[in-house]
Amino acid sequence: MEQFAQQFVNGVVLGAMYGLIALGYTMVYGIIQLWNFAHGEIFMVGAFGGLAVWTALPESLAENAFLALPLIFTAAVFTATFTAVLVERVAYRPLRSSPRITALITAIGVSIVLQESVRLFYPDGKRPQSFPGLVAEGNFSIGDVRIPWVSLFIVIVAFFAMLLLQAFVHATKTGKAMRAVSQDPDTARLMGIDVNRIIMVTFAVGAILAALAGVLQGMKFRQIDFHMGFLAGLKAFTAAVLGGIGNITGAVLGGLLLGITEVMATQYIPQGSAWKDVWAFIVLIVVLVFRPTGLLGEDVSVRA
């Protein structure tokens, strides 16, 4: 039982990070029906942006978590947002009326370009980089369940980020415009909404969340590398589909479910740990076969 509870907690922590990335996928899909394949790279670029600033900090500052953390997060968010907005402007906007496969291939191309840029331009970028832990090492215990402080920190950051997102989407004018565009871009335009600006904002918001996830991932695993975005992105997309693509609550729920499934399968299925990364795809295939609209999704358009 303790083992189960322990794994459950681990799953929630992993799922919180998947959820953060999945939000970016789901929002972009909801607005322009694009599977933004490069979103996983935005997550990776964010983590590297944070690391770059931390490396540049003087030692006294770098050791102080209360000062360094906000700086890292700010840097990560800025790098990721800038990259995402640039990608949207340069690569996706000119293709908005072209066939889906073109946009998808472009997204893959962008993803390659971003990966390779980090590999080439980040100092020694082709090797994994170690990432600072910053939050106090060690655990605290509830009963027999041991929870590292880092994990608690991850869950708290993810929770507040998602809360802020809800507030942004439901309580601000821009958020309202976002929902309008996702329902019907043409009518939204007729109502005087600047659709291009809203799309850009959507990419930026997704990038902010992905950057947070990138830094959190780095803090948890103490290591980042230039191709970590591929698998993370694929899993986050699975989470988004699982929850119902286009649905914000669904993305968070899907992320948590996926994280928990992955951890439980690794623990309880024989051979499970060797196939750590397979479970996500099995979940994906099962969901797509039996409930392609996801857990919370409504009927979405199906043809590419």
């Binding site: 599977w35 690569a91 000119p94 293709l95 072209s98 066939p99 889906r100 496969i101 073109t102 998808l104 291939i105 472009t106 893959i108 191309g109 962008v110 390659i112 370009v113 390779e116 840029s117 080439l120 591929f230 698998l231 694929l234 997309f237 699975t238 589909v241 051979q271 060797a274 196939w275 750590k276 990364d277 397979v278 996500a280 795809f281 099995i282 994906l284 295939i285 797509l288 076969v289 392609p292 358009s301 199906v302 043809r303 590419a304």
Partner: protein, 359 residues
Amino acid sequence: MGLGETAEKPIWHVHSWPRWIRYFLLPLLGVVLLVALPHLFPDRVTFLADLWAMIIFALTWDVVGGQMGYNSFGNIFFFGVGMYVCAIVQKEMLETAGESADYFLALGLGAGLGALVCIVLAALLGSVILGMRGHYFAVCTLGLGVAGAEIAAGIDYIGAGSGMSVPLYPIDAGNQERFFYYCFLVLALGALFFFRRLYAGRFGLVLNAIRDDEEKAESMGLRTTLHKTLAWMSAACFLGLLGAGIGNQSGYIDPRDVAFPASTFGIYMILAVLMGGRGTLWGPVLGSFVFHVAKEFFWTEFLGWNRVALGLLILFVVVFAPGGILGWVQDRRRRLDEEEVEHPPDGEGGVSFAQGGAQ
């Protein structure tokens, strides 16, 4: 100018050449050239063999992705399965039979069994996965490709994550590179003729109907699921054979980089098709050629920047020639012909040119 008189056709209209040139001389020259190539460029044999492999990749992708309109990102799965099955068969046979075992017999049996397993898997998976549409199909197949690598990396019997070695090519059997060149050449030509026959008949029309409007095709009484699955099975068969060959050519099988390279060759085959022109027979062939040469060029000239350069080239082609190279050429030709119809050279009108407009 009367109806019977044919206008002077430009030289590149191959269809107006005499029959004996088209059906005898050209194929003969082609075959002689293809057989002689590895002898003409002895230090380029592997490059040429990989070109044929790329053509097979592209041709098999285009069946489902181009003719049928289902963007599969996971065809590489069958490639890896064929490779592993063949290697296992070879290993078992050579281990039980010892020194006396025949390498080529084992290779042939292994490749055949690999292709068979691929066909069965495609039938099983296809009946489930091909029910999805659009992005769902795309992401599901991408998952399949990546999952293939992860599953293989978890099985100890085939060496898990560190991979397995394939029985050695016998030293006394001649040049190994050349042998695989001819293997892939035969396989590529086989695929070309097979798909040519397939597209020329009713089967191809059904695939196109599925691409253009699946609901309508279904309500016309076409058995769409059957045809979709059969198309995927045919692609899987060739991919399994190719996998078996590549595994032996490289001599070592690694689950992520050699057997299931979902993020390199799994994507390259699509890019090659998009470059050449999807949904055509020759587009994938042309695209593979351009892609493979460009790739080799970038790898030698811009090492470090190679993938960036390749990515940019693809973006360029996709953005400026959405129909690929072949689509662009056809478009140009149509436009030229239309201009001819509007302004006939002899100023009389387009009767004799009507044929040119309707290709």
